[in-house]
Amino acid sequence: MPAVSLHGITKRFPGVVANDGVDFEAAEGEVHALLGENGAGKSTLSNILTGLYRPDEGSVELYGERVEFDSPRDALNAGICMVHQHFRLVPPFTVAENVILGDTRGESGRFLVHPRHIERRVAELGERYRIAVDPRARVWQLSLGEQQRVEILKALYREAKILILDEPTAVLTPQEAESLFITLRAMAAEGRTVIFISHKLHEVTAVADRVTVLRGGKTVATVDTAESTTQSLASLMVGREVDVATRVPREITIGGPVLELAGVGATGDRGAEALHDVTMTVRSGEIVAVAGVAGNGQRELAEAITGMRPTTAGTITVDGKPLKGGDAREAIHAGVAHVPEDRLHTGVAPSLSIASNTVLKSYRGAQIAHGPLLRLSAIKERALSLITNYDVRTSGPNVPARQLSGGNLQKVVLGREFSGEPRVLIAASPTRGLDVSAIETVHRYLREGATGGMGIVLISEDLDEILALADRIVVMYEGRIVGELDAETATKDALGLLMAGVTEPVA
């Protein structure tokens, strides 16, 4: 009898069917991976299992019993815990307070709260499962990896029988991910069910016993990992034979330096130093990747170069001209284009039309503005040509940007950024959350941009992407550049060690 079984789950959102008759089963004591591209319906399915969403159709059974969850509380009471991609933690609370939040059983269920008992218990659990965190620390002080441990501790404290993890390795180094897998295997060995959501094939094969593949909101297959390869899983996931992130050979004509950073420093949002003495050069025609675990200064680096964040030290030179820094307009005029990490709220103004977003940076220019007045017809023309040239699927230029799918939105951003004929392009996680065909499109544009003579800085947490695209790779750790590798010869192991801050050669 399976621990979890879902039958014919359908869930519709305005304009999309996120789950379309999905079937899913996971047994006791197994690590079961839920594999699919972004938008395949994995998150929706897990949100249904955790009571956050109610399915429009279909049934959920736990250990053979039909259940109906009206709220996350019902799911928690049934022993289901989830570690979301964006952690569900209360930042000003301590670790212990977060762990007992909403728990209504036993000790912590009483009306009064006694943090000391709980702190002891949390410390014990942390040691047993090799995920120790100081129970008295405030969550906002913890690194993302530590915060993830708190999420797992919450599940363990509650004695969850079923644990769901949504893309848990995005915030980890390959080595930290290994350690997480050991914890997960230990939990499964105790008879718990671990559901591991991912779109990374090698992780799935490394940790899971079985894999269920979703595509376009439907179940494609459930297979044993022992009997499958990354290739076979990939074709199930995408629905056709694909190359798994291989390098595409490209004519490389490297020119002079277009972007030079010398000793650049910057502070992060919390006021602490986020960038320290960063020195790097990007030449015309090359793609330089910045690898690193999320939160090691990559965002600040992108923002410093593009003028969105003031620098505290050093100089940034674009095409031979030094920038004052901290002024996005200056950077734009100097020829720096930027595909930001948060494309929906930074890359565009989401409620404004595609047309408005097409001229987000060029509205000051003479072609668009006539003195203080805007030439609305010119804006419309420009939007229409972007829609055609970049094959943006939409009903027209007046559609609000938020209605575009991730891939089409990214095309609008790329089209706009390329239209400024930049010297340098900073692309931060340009394919995050996109489906395979959109990823291919974005990669193609980036390659074309480099071939056309742009210097491209690719900031990504996805090592496959980096290895497929980059000419050179620099690795960031705690705001510093800790190493530089040639992409032709770099390996994931070598990158992983650098990402963890290990700079000594390993025997």
Partner: protein
């Protein structure tokens, strides 16, 4: 000695600080759940008018009638808060506009005036009012007499409220849930806490507190019904919550501090000192602005107690 200016000022600080304290505690509770309610002034006035109505209409022994009147005031103001709660929690309306709408709806020139007029409450002396809680002999004690023993029961009950709210927030599970909802509603929701219910309850309870604050005017300080009786105390209460960094104990201190400014002009005038009363009346507002500026200038630890999700609706099922 009991006429010394310091004692008189302190005594009036406690008197005028008490309605501020109730209302600010109420606002604090609502804001801790993430709901900003700028309708305090309106809720206070509705509490004041309904409390006064209860005292004038309900027969029975004085103390009992007064207790009932306070409850009536709390319920009436709680109902006002319920309108706000429905608009901002269920209908996700802009909290600022909705709070202002509540003040226009319920405040001076609105429902409170309408009720005061229709129920014929104006210009009548109160049938019962809160008097000094302790016997006369204690009121004549030096210093503590006027400051402490001359005060009415509502002053002391307010202290219980402060202790209660502080304990609730720091030591109880519903208090922990409340803070989680105000800081990170998505996290609270994922952990099985009903965000909507938590916000409704605390917004309405916060409104009820404001009603008691209003009733403090009409049943103890004045005690009668005059249109617009609270004279802007509701806005000072909102300022006070910020001034107190969203902490109940600091609310107590701040309420008496601000209360002193409300009473000071009268005290000084009685002694023949002519200082423009506006100077003192403006101080709570100016000081609140200064506190806000200091806090925001402090930069990194900028929030200093302001609930993380204050003013933002929580929507679960939206993509």
């Amino acid at each position: 000695m009991n006429n010394s200016i310091l004692v008189v000022v302190l005594a009036s600080a406690v008197t005028y600080g008490t309605p501020l304290l109730y209302s600010a505690l109420g606002e604090l509770v609502a804001e801790r759940s993430g709901v900003l309610n700028l309708g305090v002034e309106g809720m206070m006035l509705v509490g004041a008018v309904m409390g006064f109505w209860a005292v004038q209409t309900i027969p029975g022994p004085g103390p009992l009638v007064l207790i009932i009147a306070v409850c009536v005031a709390a319920i009436a103001a709680g109902l006002m808060a319920l309108i706000h709660a429905f608009l901002v929690i269920t209908l996700r309306a802009n909290q600022i506009v909705s709070g202002l709408a509540l003040t226009i709806f319920a405040g001076a020139g609105g429902l409170s005036s309408y009720l005061g007029n229709d129920l014929n409450l104006a210009d009548a002396p109160a049938k019962h009012a809160f008097g000094a809680f302790f016997p006369h002999s204690m009121q004549t004690l030096p210093v503590v007499g006027p400051i402490f023993f001359e005060q009415n029961a509502l002053v002391f009950v307010a202290w219980l409220f402060v202790g209660g709210v502080a304990f609730y927030l720091a030591r109880t599970r519903p208090g922990l849930n409340l803070k989680a909802v105000g800081e990170a509603p998505a996290a609270a929701d994922a952990m099985g806490i009903n965000v909507t219910r938590t916000r409704y309850i605390h917004t309405v309870v916060g409104g009820a507190f404001a009603g008691i604050g209003g009733a403090t005017f009409s049943l103890a300080i004045t005690p009668q019904w005059v249109d617009g009786l609270t004279q802007g105390a509701g806005w000072i209460a909102i300022a006070l919550v910020i001034f107190a960094f969203w902490r109940p104990a600091l609310c107590l201190v701040g309420a008496y501090f601000f209360g002193a400014f409300a009473g000071l002009p009268f005290t000084l005038q009685a002694r023949g000192v002519t200082v423009a009363p506006e100077l003192f009346q403006a101080l709570p507002y100016v000081m609140t602005i200064l506190v806000l500026v200091t806090v925001s200038a402090a930069g990194a630890r900028r929030r200093l107690g302001a609930p993380g999700a204050l003013g933002t609706p929580y929507v679960r099922e939206e993509r």
